[in-house]
């Protein structure tokens, strides 16, 4: 290595090497220069380090790497000997062993971290194509036994990869479960639309997505009097003739006779079509290479997927794997595992699926910034970092912006911040007086004080109770007697009180899950009113508290996760002894039931018919005594400090509430194939939440005080594509109830709510309604959920013409504007200068003074208008703006 260092001095222009955020020009003989030289040295080393996301490597950037590469190329040209020792090209695998007709994908990369994929750009040559061939995309294919070498040429460099093609006789037999079933999955034979559906297709039924190899083997080999396979002439097997559409096939042509998959099926038939064998090696895991990578926009990346078996064998399955990109906007992926990124920067992942196993490739596509932009970002982030000394959460945000080359927006102005945080914590618009007091407050910790004050207001409890009543499905629809409204009111009040008194979240969840007794006396048992069946319990608990969607596993192994039917029914078994008695049933759902633990109640695995013991999700069976309530064990497991689900799901839910998007998005779909955008931040928040005793107000304080929450929503060139890293505030429309209350507040005319037994008391706000069975067209068109599921996604903000008509033309809004006791009438009657009145309208509605142009327009308009209608129109116009309708 020393030779490298010596030789590098004259060849490399060190002043172009930038280090970290400090962008200094280096004295070539200083210690910092030696770091740079070390960097160069490593550039030439055969390296497979993939941890580009690690903080200490954040200084690897396009421009300096390019500068270094230029210098380095010159250096390498001067010393061919050094090149042979230190190949520039990183090739995985470094030798290839395979059998005739098998294939092995090569992955060829350059760069000090092997960060640039050149697999399809290098010149590839097989020295003996009769032994092994190579495609332009880097796939080696065995031809006949023997040895040869693949030559790889790139930019004057040559690498050689030895290839050994073994004799067919040595080939291990094909395994049904891990070789044949994956083919059926990739071709879609066993998908839910074809032979995988419950009734099969054309008398031929396979297990859905191949999760029951025994059944599949019987179907292929034994059923239909064995006519599906024809061992003496494998290519004439019905299976192959149909799949290649040589015989009429309802599913069309799935397979070409030149495909690897065809060859594998044919070979399996020819070699005796062995069935699943419990003693043979099983597929243990698959691995994708690389696992993480930083990619450029509009670039390509080949993936390599290797399957590992229980006997220590491994093989390349790149071309037999199914791929799926989680962000089509950022990257697409071909059937052979080649990723193409679009022009858009951001984070994405690609799921690889083979034989029921999954692996995930994570990628970051940084902004392609020029040197000046990089410097601007680095210095701004450095100063933000100094300002955020005491917040590890802010540092984690900054770290990610640095990795992606993103410059966050500026901080939001005071009037915007108080409006934003009052809406988000209290679901309420701040008054003119509150806004003015905050702006004029000179104390240094006024933001923290404001957040603390808001968390103590009853509106906070009301607003978050509304959110939780959605999640816990406190439904009122379907019945209308006073008894039922009593139930939803009790539950709603219990939720509100729990939130108001800041009940620790672990306790809150435990009381809901384990509640027993009369619904009149123990309100959390009202949760059982709409969560009634075992699937309801499993899906509600998984989605609301554990943040996972497990519905798939009711019928088959979750295709994108580890959840199996055993997980699903194990969780179901926790609730199998929940009993109900009493109750008053005048509609489809009885009320006022008593929830108790029955003596018996078991759950059978739908396929094996074995009794399934109550079990935590992915966890061990509970050790239960005869009279134990399994729900208590579940709650205990969920609220253990190291439970991987509960705290993470809650902090992510809270983060999404305030930031408009979860760190895991959607918030209830956590899985390895849907990774968090900032895993370190999520982990830190989640740990902090547990360490503070599941203190919800504490975590809300952390989030509202965070750097991300304080940013302005206006983007600039260096973050305009950001939708994942919270480099600006993401605006969203006020939710239905908040919007209606805000309009009522501005116009000083409360909404009258009628529902169930009678009118709600005058002054009741929309965020205080106990259930959704209070007919208000405004709330429905603006996306009030029906509380059909535990998914917050039921509440939608998509725009619709009906919303616009509600604003422009509804009796509701018009009557508020025209009310005799309302703000408009009073304002019009006041003896004040028009200018002052207009200013009051703006402060009351927008929380800011009118700009001069706005003031002129308003005064001009009011001069010619009818005295009252003029103000009505003015205020209506402000209420219909995006500035009012959005939290921004």
């Amino acid at each position: 290595m020393a030779c490298c260092r010596d030789r590098s001095k004259p060849a490399v222009s060190i002043e172009h090497v930038s280090l970290g955020e400090h962008h200094q020009h280096l004295d070539p003989f200083s210690s910092e220069a030696s770091v740079a030289i070390d960097f160069l040295r490593r550039f030439t080393v055969h390296s497979r380090c993939n941890n580009l996301f690690a903080p200490h490597l954040r200084w690897v950037r396009t421009a300096p790497v390019f500068a270094v590469a230029v210098g380095l190329t010159a250096l390498l040209y001067t010393d061919r000997h050094a090149v042979a020792e230190q190949p520039l090209l990183d090739v995985v695998p470094d030798k290839v062993r395979l059998f005739p007709d098998d294939s092995q994908q090569l992955l060829i990369r350059i760069g000090d971290q092997a960060q640039q994929d050149v697999t399809d750009q290098v010149t590839l040559l097989s020295r003996d194509p009769k032994i092994a061939a190579i495609t332009a995309q880097g796939t080696v294919r065995g031809r006949q036994p023997g040895q040869t070498v693949i030559e790889i040429k790139w930019d004057g460099q040559t690498s050689e990869i030895p290839v050994i093609v073994g004799a067919n006789e040595q080939r291990p037999p094909l395994r049904f479960s891990s070789d044949i079933v994956p083919v059926l999955t990739k071709l879609g034979c066993n998908s839910g639309g074809c032979h995988g559906k419950a009734t099969g297709q054309g008398q031929f039924k396979l297990s859905l997505l191949g999760f029951d190899p025994h059944l599949d083997y019987l179907a292929l080999v034994k059923q239909a009097r064995g006519r599906r396979l024809f061992p003496s002439a494998p290519e004439r097997s019905l299976l192959l003739l149909k799949a290649t559409a040589q015989m009429p096939h309802g599913g069309g042509r799935r397979l070409n006779i030149l495909d690897d998959d065809y060859r594998i099926l044919k070979q399996w038939i020819a070699t005796g079509s062995r069935g699943p064998n419990p003693t043979e090696a099983s597929l243990e895991r698959i691995e994708v290479t690389p696992q993480r990578q930083t990619l450029k926009p509009e670039s390509r990346q080949q993936l390599l997927v290797t399957a590992y078996y229980s006997n220590g064998e491994s093989q390349d399955v790149t071309r037999r794997t199914i791929y799926q990109s989680n962000q089509q906007e950022l990257a697409s992926v071909s059937k052979s595992g080649r990723i193409e990124t679009t022009s858009q920067p951001g984070l994405f992942s690609v799921m690889a699926r083979f034989g029921g196993k999954i692996a995930t490739f994570h990628a970051a596509v940084p902004y392609a910034n020029d040197a000046q932009q990089q410097q601007q970002i680095a210095s701004r982030l450095a100063s933000l970092e100094v300002a955020s000394q005491d917040s590890r959460f802010d540092r984690l945000l900054i770290q990610q912006w640095r990795q992606l080359g993103i410059l966050p927006s500026a901080a939001a102005a005071d009037h915007k911040f108080i409006r934003r945080v009052t809406i988000d914590i209290c679901g309420t618009l701040p008054t003119r007086e509150e806004v003015e007091a905050y702006i004029n407050d000179k104390s240094e910790d006024k933001r923290e004080q404001l957040i603390n004050r808001l968390l103590e207001r009853p509106e906070y409890a009301n607003y978050f109770a509304l959110k939780w009543a959605d999640i816990l499905q406190n439904r009122g629809s379907g019945y209308s007697t006073s008894k039922q409204r009593t139930g939803t009111s009790l539950f709603s009040r219990w939720i509100r009180d729990s939130i108001g008194e800041n009940k620790p979240y672990d306790q809150f969840v435990t009381e809901i899950i384990t509640g027993s007794g009369s619904q009149l006396e123990n309100p959390p048992t009202i949760w059982h009113r709409h969560v009634r069946t075992l699937p309801d319990y499993v899906e509600s608990v998984a989605q609301a508290f554990l943040g996972v969607r497990i519905q798939c596993a009711q019928c088959h192994h979750h295709p994108f996760e580890r959840w199996s039917q055993a997980d699903y029914y194990g969780l179901a078994a926790v609730f199998s002894r929940v009993g109900r008695k009493g109750g008053f049933a005048d509609a489809e759902v009885p009320t006022n039931e008593t929830i108790f633990l029955r003596d018996t109640g078991t759950v059978l695995h739908p396929r094996t018919q074995e009794v399934i013991a109550p079990r935590a999700l992915g966890g061990p069976d509970f050790s239960l005594e005869r009279y134990d309530d399994p729900r208590i064990h579940l709650a205990r497991w969920m609220t253990q400090r190291d439970n991987p689900f509960l705290a993470r799901t809650m902090v992510n839910r809270l983060w999404a509430h305030f930031m408009g998007r979860g760190i895991i998005h959607p918030i209830d779909d956590a899985r390895s194939t849907n990774p968090p955008s900032n895993p370190a931040l999520l982990e830190a928040l989640s740990q902090d939440f547990v360490e503070h005793g599941y203190d919800i107000k504490h975590t809300i304080g952390i989030i509202c005080n965070s750097l991300a929450y304080r940013l302005d929503s206006a983007p600039h060139d260096l973050n305009k594509h950001d939708r994942q890293t919270f480099a600006r505030f993401y605006p969203r429309r006020l939710t239905a109830e908040v919007l209606l209350d805000a309009i009522s507040q501005v116009l000083a005319v409360p909404t009258e709510f009628n529902g169930g037994p009678g009118k709600f008391p005058a002054g009741t706000r929309a965020i205080e309604l106990p259930d959704e069975n209070v007919p208000v067209h405004f709330l429905d068109v603006f996306g009030r959920p029906a509380r059909d599921s535990a998914c917050e996604c039921e509440r939608v903000d998509s725009p619709a013409l009906s919303q616009a008509l509600e604003l422009v033309n509804s009796e509701l809004l018009q009557s508020k504007l025209s009310a005799k006791e309302g703000y408009v009438a009073k304002l019009a009657a006041q003896k004040l200068a028009t200018e002052q009145k207009v200013a009051d309208v703006f402060l009351r509605t927008f929380g800011r003074n009118p700009q001069s142009g706005e003031l002129d327009t308003a005064i001009q308009f009011l001069k010619d208008a009818d005295p009252i209608e003029g103000y009505r129109s003015l205020i209506w116009a402000l209420l219909a703006t995006n500035e009012f309708m959005f939290n921004h």
Binding site: G193, E329, N809, Q814, F886
Partner: protein
């Protein structure tokens, strides 16, 4: 309730309608090209206005081809099903005995009996038939492509600008895949929100509330244009853009009578209403005719759920007669009004149903070969394109993909098939990709 102070297009407070558009509309988020296009649609400078439009009967859940358009009378009973075929005006075309009304106008209806795609689950199949592309694989995964209705809305706009371009009756279905996705939320369908056959059918908020006049609405609109200055690029979810467009459209709808009249089905002659049939199918079809007559481009009628896995006869007895009458009455009515050459009628669902009856006297999902019906708008009636195998099942000749069918509709409406729209990444995406119009129908 109504207190209109002037006729629909007259200016009411000092500026002409044209000024109003120029001043107000751009600030409300309508792009300039939208306005120019609408203007050119509205004015009479010698170029004829393209009044082509589309009415869709969406058989949500999947209608059995074998019991309706593609009878197999010579197959064994378990394939044939319970209905007998009947003759139509065309000697070579038979249909189900539950389609006696359509049989009388078969010279005006065409069928494609060889539509094929490769998915048998409702959601992805609905995505396929609504957008032309295979898409989401799990029910809750969002739509990836715009529906044909949204493409039509974007490509053509309404032919009278006050009208919504794309309407669903009573609301959107197809498992959520009747939306606009990356075409912009303003091309989402306007949902009527009620059953047009109901006595008290009324589209919410189409009439002015007490005390509000058209003049007031116009002043409010003027002010909104002045004060709604929040930067639009802060929102990348398109919620703001969508709201902007809808606000502009809502105010135009209010200011004019055209829209209210179009939705007011009670203005129709009771005898004609009877002809369409006093059921949801019939009155929805009649409403659709009123809407396309007034300027809407695409009306999708989502009536009934056709997922007849069990006791299919019971389900079909309920749905086939009203559907039959509605299609017949619509075709006949359009013909009498001289509109049939302008209005394409399309009847399809996400797939057909299995040729072989199952053990529950029902039929399951079948996408390998099923039938869609097309009529009007230049499509030649009395024709059958493509054929299924002996007992149904597979395509025997002239396979038609979902994109072929959608391309046929675009072609009939006059939308250039080379049209591309940018998706959310800015990539131009073809509206028909590999789809080719079925020219044998033209």
């Amino acid at each position: 309730m109504l207190s209109l102070t002037g006729s629909a297009y007259k200016n009411c407070d000092g500026f002409t309608r044209r000024n109003f558009l120029q001043v107000g509309a751009p600030l409300l988020g309508l792009g300039l090209s939208d306005i120019l296009r609408s203007e050119s649609n509205a004015k009479n400078d010698g170029t004829p206005v393209n009044r082509k439009s589309l009415i869709v009967f969406w058989t949500h859940g999947g209608m059995s081809q074998q019991d309706t358009y593609d009878m197999k009378p010579d197959s064994p009973p378990e394939y044939r099903g319970m209905y007998q075929p009947i003759q139509t005006t065309q000697s070579d075309i038979i249909v189900s005995e539950r389609f006696p009304m359509q049989a009388k106008v078969m010279d005006l209806l065409a069928q494609v009996r060889s539509v094929h795609h490769e998915n048998g689950i409702h959601a992805p199949s609905a995505h396929w038939m609504q957008t032309g592309f295979f898409g989401p694989t799990l029910a809750r995964i969002a739509a990836q492509r715009p529906s044909f209705g949204s493409v039509i809305s974007r490509a053509m706009g309404p032919w009278q600008r006050q009208m919504p371009a794309y309407v669903t009756v009573p609301k959107s279905e197809a498992f959520g895949y009747q939306g606009s996705v990356y075409l912009g939320k303003s091309h989402n369908p306007f949902e009527v929100g009620g059953n047009p056959n109901a006595k008290d059918f009324k589209v919410p908020n189409l009439s002015l509330p007490g005390g509000l006049t058209v003049k007031n609405v116009q002043s409010r609109r003027f002010l909104l244009g002045k004060f709604d200055t929040l930067r639009r690029d802060i929102d990348t979810t398109e919620v703001m853009d969508g709201l902007d467009t809808f606000k502009a459209r809502a105010m135009e709808m209010i200011a004019g009578e055209r829209v209210r009249k179009a939705f007011d089905i009670s203005q129709e002659d009771p005898q004609l209403r009877d002809r369409y049939g006093r059921h949801q199918y019939g009155q929805s079809a009649l409403l659709a005719r009123r809407l396309v007559e007034a300027g809407t481009r695409c009306v999708t009628i989502n009536t009934g759920y056709w997922d007849h896995h069990n006791e299919i006869e019971k389900g079909l007895e309920e749905h086939l007669p009203p559907l039959d009458r509605a299609i017949w009455a619509l075709v006949d009515d359009l013909k009498q009004r001289g509109m049939l050459d302008d209005v394409v009628i399309y009847c399809s669902g996400e797939f057909g149903r299995t040729p072989l009856m199952n053990g529950h006297a029902g039929r399951d999902h079948w996408s390998n070969c099923f039938t869609v019906m097309l009529a009007g708008g230049g499509i030649q009636g009395g024709r059958v394109v493509g054929a299924s195998e002996k007992h149904g099942g597979g395509v025997k000749e002239r396979l038609a993909t979902p994109l072929d069918v959608i391309a046929t509709i675009y072609h009939a409406l006059g939308i250039p098939l080379g049209t591309h729209y940018e998706d959310s990444t800015g990539r131009p995406v073809s509206i028909v990709d590999a789809g080719r119009p079925i020219l044998e129908l033209m």
